[in-house]
Amino acid sequence: MDNQAVIAETKLWNQDTARRRTAPGGFERKPRRGESVIQGFLFICGALTIFTTLAIVFVLGRESLLLVTSKYVTEAGAVHTISLFDFVNTTEWQPHRFKVGIAPLVSATLMSSAIAMLVALPLGLGAAIFLSEYASPRVRSILKPILEVLAGVPTVVYGFFALQFMTPLLQSLFGRSTVEIFNVASAGAVMGIMILPLVASMSEDALSAVPRSLREAAFGLGSTRLETTTRVVLPAALSGIAAAVIIAISRAIGETMIMAIAAGARPNLTANPFESAWTMTGYIASISGGDLAYDTLDYNSIFMVGLLLFLMTLGLNILSRAFVARFREVYD
């Protein structure tokens, strides 16, 4: 009998003690109430995470529902309502004027994430390949912690970096008249630097998980290191790398502070990355900066935006997991 089976049996035996009065061997056994209480407590700890999710869904859903069902009375006495249709049907985002076309926020979010991925994907993947395929163990043991430092820097610091370094850099490259002080490009590029270590470390894990024997076989057939990497190791690790990329996109969409600091604060439906624009997260952060009064249009609108954000990131996370489950190559 292997270890797992012994453990499983012992577990069962322990869990059933409360019900069984007599243990094997004829010993009289007391029911252990303390054990059950502890187990119950630990179960509650685990179940609490479910409650967190339910609470998020409930809170976001309830306030969003209030947004579309409430009647808002202006000072002039006019009564406004907001219909769900307005969100996708119009393209102007000014909640205090009852215009709730969400397109400007979503487009800015997607644009900043795309810029971030343009930076993070090639650099992160290149770094991962270097670390896993080329670097000696010594070099890796030095470089990996440095990348982790980059991952550990708080995002508000990256926001400062975007405003103090990246924006002036872009302005000196493209001219002050083209690049606004607050712009999506600068925030997006810095966000790319921020998620670079995430892409690098997740891809590196995927690459390192490819068994050595595969590489040895490729080398034995006369492949160079590059050919081994691109034709054998990369395809084998593809599901892990794809998962890393999807997670990185989800992180980029949900990133707040860089956007709130460097991307500016006005709803702007544009394709020009050098203009300022409100992302979804940036909108939530800057609207709730002061004392936001409850049950106003602004208050409800941040939950609506939050709900959309939650659904987008959740979808991407589930997609990433599905990728791994579906396409993972298993070598034993």
């Binding site: 270890n3 797992q4 012994v6 453990i7 012992t10 322990n14 252990r32 303390g34 187990q39 407590f41 630990l42 179960f43 700890c45 685990g46 179940a47 609490l48 995470t49 479910i50 999710t53 998020i56 809170v59 976001l60 090639p122 993947l125 290149g126 770094a127 270097f130 395929e133 430092v149 550990g152 820097v153 708080p154 995002t155 508000v156 610091v157 970096f161 103090q164 370094f165 630097i193 670079l196 290191r225 590059l226 050919e227 990497t229 992180r251 969409i253 949900g254 502070m257 709130a260 600091i261 050098f274 997260t281 952060a285 939950f303 939050g306 939650f310 990131t313 959740l314 996370n317 997991r321």
Partner: protein, 556 residues
Amino acid sequence: MDRIALFAAGFISLALALNGSLTTPALAARKGYSARLGLALGLSAGLLGSVLGAVASAALWPDRSGLLVAGSLLGGLGALAAVWSRLPDRARRDAPLPEGEALRRNIQARHLRGTIARTLYLGAIVIALVALATLLWTIANKSFGLVAVQYDVEPDALLLNGEPTGRPLDELSEHELEQILAQNVREALLRRFILESVLAAPQADWPQLSPAPVAEALAGRAYPEDLADRPLNELTSAEAAHLINANMDRDDLEELIFERVINPTIVASWPLWDALMRRDEINTRAAESYPQAELQWRSWISRDFLSGALDPRRADVTGVRPAIIGSLLVILIAIAFAFPVGVGAALYLEEYARDNTFNRIIQTNISNLAGVPSIIYGMLGLAIFVRALEPLTSGQAFGASTANGRTVLSAGLTLALLILPLIIINAQEAVRAVPNSLRQASYGLGATQWQTIWHHVLPYAMPGILTGTILSVSRAFGETAPLILVGGATYLTRDPDGPFSIFTALPLIIFRWTTLPQDEFRNAAAAAIVVLLVLLLTMNSFAIILRNRLSRRLIS
């Protein structure tokens, strides 16, 4: 010419040159040429073709920047295609596999490609490192530098018996300082100093206090007997100065004169790089714009900065003490809640949970929660802790007097929810790494499941659990977005002192100062970032030391 178009065209040329250098060597080798020749051909064809195309399109259509990009793209691609298709074939086509000289060329070409790719991969790492270095440099650049300081009165121009002292303050005696106060400051201001600095009375009480006799207003404090019956608002300068001196030691007196009479204000600041490289320019600019001011070196991180109170108006005198205290309080509450629950959940999932649907849902749910953006947790905290549970989190149920639920407790609980999934995942890994033989030995000796967990599994997994916890906590320490939502203040008149007080935190302060219009606040923000990073670094190195210590002890 549009600069963006120029940059795009340049980028295209580089990409095409790179592409050419990667593909052409092998092609050349196959056709019987040296791989190095192929490299040179591909590189120059991609680069030259696109540059020529760009130049040509710029010459033909001078005002169309979009065509420049298209021209470079077309030109470069055309040149590469020409090289690839027109390169005459020198090798014999009928040989199935290369041999001899051809084989050597083939291998050389493939190794050349390998070297180029390796350089690119290394380049990615180097760029990441350069980004980190630039980030740190940007912060250092703003934390130190030159400032132009302007005084209301030059320190050595203070009048002493009708003449400028000509000496710095710290060389003057206590009596001389009192004389300076009496002779340089108006009576009304001196009386105000008594109310403010000696009595520390709130402004609302001033109308009552100022007509009161000295004996009554300064009850319990030192005052000369002969002034006892004089009303406070009729004191002469000399008398008021004497009264102040009687209640202050020499250092406090010197500080009072320095801050309130000399009153240094920073009128301009320059970052470290400019201060080092363009000193002459700064000197002339400062002399033009601020003729009264004096250039000084300044480190924005100082003891006063660490221990001082927040000042919403002046970056040069503000401190971060309330923010540091607030951050620590919030994080303590987060740990107190998230650590036990997180470890409990991990133990349940690893030791007790059977493989059924509900437990699988819990597991999936935890990894999904770990990917939820932090700002969503902030909204959860706002709706649940700040609003719905207001009587509890504002402390009104416990007799505290905070007006609403935007308190340390709400913030701490919000961050606790944020780090809970991270702690669970880390703790699960640590518990999973405990060898089964340990559990079997314990069961074999007759221990119950909980005894086994408590006495064997937990101690063995503890280093891993603690490391994971500290790393998660250090992530929460830098979180800003949830705290904004939960309603953290960016200015406090007093330190947060418990779970029910309103709060601020270091990242919040950094956010606020970064977005303020005055440039000096960016210096203060950089200094606050240094404080934050040092705290994080301390936490992380503590985690590493802890892990090494505990694991050495347990494994040996």
